[in-house]
Symmetry: C2
């Protein structure tokens, strides 16, 4: 199994990982622009473009695109996140050229037909409505807005019905031309694949992409604020969320934040799972996770329970967070969280799709590939004291508290919970 | 890569698939009993038992179980379906004995402590509440009830708050002793694993399981009825579902039902996706799927849209279904659906977790392992005429129609839609 990286004349990076025991290939184009680079009035445009890429090119109708990839048994999909947009496929070995040819076409020759755009807008409005029916999505969206108020990171990836309705074909074309440049794009493939063959295809198919970085794609620097937010809409369950600013992915404390999140609420043996679910039966799901971006990050703790138990659950979560900040984790907790992170790295390397994504993200985020051994060493270097210092520092900042599902009382629950992190007034 | 199957003296089947290029192993115990074998008054007991297996044995507390598997970076999980219950782990190579030892302990020595049971009941009540906040889960639950009214298959896997509250430690112990017998269980492992070593461990750890089939585990034979159902609870989106009886997994038409479901609503090039989403922009998600059991099956078509568009969406879905039943699919549609099924088989074989599950299910459902070549031949043998005959036969039966999310009007939408499949009165 070997990894190879080439850079084409126009700056496009092509990375492959040969997994000769597999019968399939996962491959795609990752672009280093995402929803945080959306202009405020066009919030949702990165995601809208990702949808419209499948709606027809100068050579293929939407139906042609779908039929061509599926006739070889392949899958074609795409995803928009805050800092990247990905277009990827999984095919049987030997069908790489079919997949790459389609990807090249949809990324360079999309038509953005007006009628297709109007229909796809309706599809996205339904996608937005679906997200509002998921209280767990609502609580994360609200928390993001409270953590980064009035900033690009505080807006949703999908956009609002108003901003989505304002997006035009012309806007999409300008966006694509200025943002989807070769210097921001990585072609990544993992599985039964030959590097030189992929590079030759990439030269043919993507050689015409221009290098120049367009204006405005770096976006504004994030400034974490934090605060209290709630929705009065009733659900069966009340979803509660605490958020704290955590290190950006290139920063020193980033791996400590991964260990912290793991031992706090990452698995069955984590503090929050043991206390809130196992010892108290308060909830079915309770998790912490870390969300690392180029200039900021957030650690979230999220759980759901009956509305009548919301205060009790919020109390348990904040007690556990404060206790960890005071006493620090035990050595065995730290070892367990590290073992899980390292095993997760190993398991990720066994999936061609996960490996292709990992390589692309490393090149976009860090400008280089990072060896497994380097990642393992960084995880291993984290100490219990690093974790304690990190969480102790986090809770000195303004927490983000979001509550959804307890009707009009959601706001009161969130307000009370936010006070549990304030030092008592002198 | 080789597959090996051994049967222990007590009838327990042990199957492994060696994938020497991997660094991890997926392994677990699959038991051939599930929610359809729950006694009516104890609806939810198969799932409750699956939860209680993690709550402590004569040797380990719940916390010990979680810490032991996670300290080697492993994952331990379980899932209850209608006909099977699975307990499985993923670990690094060399840690198979740790995982098997824990699995053997939780499956044979669980304590079902009364206090733990009360707390876990509260966790399950939250799990039930969470499912009620998902309109897509609600629409499937309602459809299942309408398809098999008053029968075990018509009840939910989780049970109701009332039946779950009635489940006792004594009931769980009786259930485990009579149902979790060696003849109904398969140990399956895939990844970097040595067959003989797993067999030796299995003899040590599971050799004491009794063979005898307990009473009542085969359950009653299903009788598909179909009908109209709706929920008046409002959501942002209206979820609509059509269901039709389809072949059981061992029956002749089973592979044709997979091809049918694929070309009707399986991917981007499918009829429903093209018509409802691409041509009309009516919905974000529209899918068909086939649900095959030992004596029955259901093909479902599910989509979601705004409540004001429910009639239009239902009309488009039923028109497409009837049109397919009249004209049959084209040869290229059939070829594409087959290519996708075959590629899916190939992709599934590359994941150790999917491969371990596939082997276990084949042994439980068919009593034997089925070669990839045999599966491919069965898919290849399906003709366009097979598909047309199958769907034409399906729509002669009583359809299941479920609508959720349009408030009080949901019932009317469902009633009107059900009439689109009735032959006009003479």
């Amino acid at each position: 199994m070997t990894t190879n990286l080439s850079t084409l004349a126009n700056g496009l990076r092509v990375v492959t990982h040969d997994m000769p025991h597999l019968e399939t290939v996962s491959l795609g184009a990752w672009v280093g622009v995402g929803a945080r680079h959306d202009p405020a009035r066009e919030n949702g445009i990165a995601h809208f473009l990702e949808h419209m890429a499948f709606k027809g090119t100068s050579r293929r109708s939407a139906q042609d695109i779908a039929e061509e990839i599926e006739s070889v048994g392949g899958d074609l999909n795409a995803a928009t996140s805050l800092e990247t947009t990905a277009y990827y496929a999984r095919v049987l070995k030997g069908d790489e050229s079919t997949a790459l040819e389609i990807l090249a076409d949809i990324l360079q020759n999309s038509r953005f037909d007006e009628e297709e755009l109007r229909r796809e807008r309706d599809v996205i409005l339904q996608e937005i409505a679906a997200s509002r029916d998921c209280p767990d999505e609502v609580v994360y969206d609200l928390a993001q807005e409270a953590a980064y108020p009035g900033q690009p990171l505080g807006r949703t990836i999908l956009g609002t019905p108003e901003t989505v309705t304002g997006i035009t074909s012309e806007g999409l074309r300008t966006y694509l031309d200025s943002r989807y440049t070769s210097s921001r794009m990585v072609l990544s493939a993992a599985g039964r694949v030959d590097h030189n063959a992929v590079v030759r295809l990439a030269e043919d198919l993507f050689g015409g992409l221009s290098f120049a970085d367009g204006a405005g794609a770096d976006g504004e620097r994030a400034c974490y604020c934090g605060g209290v937010t709630a929705s009065a809409r009733p659900y069966e369950q009340c979803h509660v969320l605490f958020g704290f600013e955590s290190p950006a992915y290139g920063r020193p404390g980033y791996f400590a934040s991964q260990v912290l999140s793991g031992l706090l609420g990452g698995g069955m043996s984590s503090r929050l799972f043991q206390e809130a679910r196992e010892k108290r039966g308060l909830c079915y799901s309770v998790y912490s996770s870390v969300w690392g971006l180029s200039d900021t990050g957030v650690m979230t703790v999220h759980a759901a329970t009956g509305p009548e138990l919301a205060d009790e659950l919020l109390g348990v979560l904040s007690d556990e967070i404060r206790r960890l900040a005071e006493d620090g984790p035990t050595c065995s907790e730290v070892m367990r969280a590290k073992a899980q992170l390292k095993a997760g790295l190993m398991m990720g390397l066994e999936s061609s799709a996960a490996r292709a994504e990992q390589m692309a993200r490393q090149l976009i985020c860090h400008g280089r590939l990072i060896d497994k051994s380097e990642l393992v060493a960084k995880v291993d270097a984290v100490t219990a004291e690093d974790v304690r210092e990190l969480i102790a520092g986090m809770i000195l900042g303004v927490p983000t508290v979001a509550v959804v599902g307890a009707g009009a009382r959601s706001q009161d629950h969130a307000q009370r919970a936010s006070k549990s992190f304030r030092p008592a007034a002198a």
